[in-house]
Amino acid sequence: MGSNTMRREILRPTTHRPSTLLRAPRARAEGRGTEAQRQRIKKILCVSVSLCVGMIMLDKPAFAQVELGGTYAIRMYEDYIERGPGSFLGDFTGMPMSDEGRAKALRYSSSLPSTIERQCLAQSPWVGMYRPLALRFWSEVDESGRVVAWVMGGDYLRDTVRIWMDGRPHPSANAWHSPSGFTTGHWEGDTLVARTTHVKTAWIRRGVGIPGSDQSTFTAFITRRENLLTIMTVQEDPIYLTEPHVVSRVWEFDPRGSQGPLRDTCNVGVEIPSLEDTGEVPHYLPGQNPEEDYMVRTYNIPKEAAMGFAHTLYPEYRKTLRSTYKPPESCGRYCCGWIERQGLPGAAPGLTCNDGNLPAELRKAITAPAR
């Protein structure tokens, strides 16, 4: 019996013509039931039960997706300097920048983010890949409990990232670009794949002026496996990048982190009074950035590597480096994993490596043998 036939059997109004199913008991009671009728009843019952079970199962996803909800502690074992104290000026290593991007980054001055208009510029969707704080995920559900969106909060300072899971389309290309952009997502196995458009112009890395345009799009792959959360982002920007900028990071689930405050509001204020109401925009004119050669003179690396040319990101560039690179005699600055914190709460116990910033008295105190 086809499903349509069966549905007609079930739904047929009994007032007009009692169904075989409903007529059967009376037939049996009257001793007029036949073997064919009994088989028909069994058949309807079996198919009905199967369909009911099937419909219940089909109402759910094919498998349970990973629960993302919770807080994840930062693990800064990659790009520590960019995420911790902030990049060195003139350090664009590992970036596939266009000439326009490089020119704009070299105009960057450390005072620029202090202008009121730009204090929140550094904060954009996925900037958490370059921030030093935790992430938090939570879901938003509809009345039936279905997840409508996953929300990512944390150190964004301007907004959370809402990943719509209900299949809605991205807005028109001419729609407003918001601080959090517009993001949709879907599951591929244990990975939540998110796509973000409609972002604002921002800085990609902290404190160094590498720009990302408002035409940037991001594809993010978010995978939770046991306690580890991996996020890989692929940023494409036709203005300031020559190829996709790919970053992958790890966080660790923190079961006690859910009460921590979220820093999802960017508050602006006067940071440099002398700049207030002057209309001045701190910058360097082309060719006048004194830190343009910082990486060359400090780490002996070729200028093209420091200036973020895409070909320097691939192993074959080592052929160029082999003939030109001479390691510095020693590590002079930011050599530990816990710079600025040595001997302070949160410091790695016993580490005495050279951070370049530690006051002599403090260094002496923490390097003294324990009593």
């Binding site: 079996c46 199967s50 693990r75 596939p96 890989m232 660790e252 691939y314 994993g337």
Partner: protein, 244 residues
């Protein structure tokens, strides 16, 4: 008709059972692969460029959670001594190798063994799905056991998954070219995922954890990404080098 009901229930049960399972029968590993890891992959050095593309100066241990003993070992790094001892490959053991500036070719050596070859240091790792009676003596690449983590695939749904590998039985080596150490007691756990973009680009993400009770005060957790190369002409085998 009972058989119809039974069949329906059995099919649904089998479908649910196929979800989230791990550890396939070893002989079926190749046929059962939920993802295709084979091909030539290139590391994109967009992170930690100064520590991965070149050898940083001695004592630069930034971002690695060494304990005091680990720091002392890093401070004692002497590449000349390694060369004299024939140990110029110490930075090419699995935990250090994967973060290096590598191209790797992944292929099936047999139905239950994935082979990972790198041009950087001309190393070979074997990811074994079949149980081995003995892991053998300690080696630079150690002994790696592998299992698929399978998701989905029921009722005609798309099949997803990843590879989990655990490497131990390692000889001591370096996490970083400048002598940041791991000990022979280190365990290297990796999760291998393949992600695709709509334009067809494929990325391999290796999320990994180095546990070392000797030199680390906390697990060293990183994610490393590689891109699939259709053009394999840039494969460039180079020997181990203790200095560059």
């Amino acid at each position: 008709m009972k058989s119809t009901l039974l069949l329906a229930i059995l099919l649904m049960t089998a479908s649910v059972g196929a979800q989230g399972r791990a550890a396939q029968a070893p002989a079926a590993a190749r046929a059962d692969a939920p993802i295709d890891l084979t091909g030539q992959w290139v590391a994109i050095i967009s992170e930690d460029w100064r520590w991965r593309m070149i050898t940083p100066p001695k004592g630069d241990i930034v971002s690695i959670p060494l304990n005091l003993q680990g720091q002392q070992a890093a401070d004692a790094w002497d590449p000349a001594k390694d060369e004299a001892a024939g140990e110029q490959c110490k930075a090419y053991g699995a935990p250090g190798l994967m973060r290096g500036p590598i191209r790797m070719r992944i292929s099936w050596q047999d139905d239950s063994t994935l082979k990972v070859e790198t041009d950087y240091g001309t190393q070979t790792r074997l990811l074994r799905f079949a149980a081995a009676s003995s892991p053998g003596s300690r080696s630079l690449q150690g002994f790696t056991s592998a299992q698929w983590i399978v998701r989905g695939g029921g009722r005609g749904a798309t099949r997803y998954g990843s590879l989990k590998t655990i490497t131990n039985n390692l000889r001591p080596g370096y996490l970083r070219k400048n002598g940041v150490p791991y000990s022979e007691r280190a365990q290297f756990t990796e999760h291998w995922d393949v992600h695709s973009l709509p334009n067809g680009d494929k990325y391999l993400v290796n999320t990994n954890v180095v546990d070392d009770p000797v030199y680390l005060q906390a697990p060293f957790q990183t994610a490393i990404h590689y891109k699939l190369e259709r053009d394999t002409s840039k494969w460039d085998p180079t020997p181990c080098d203790a200095r560059f």
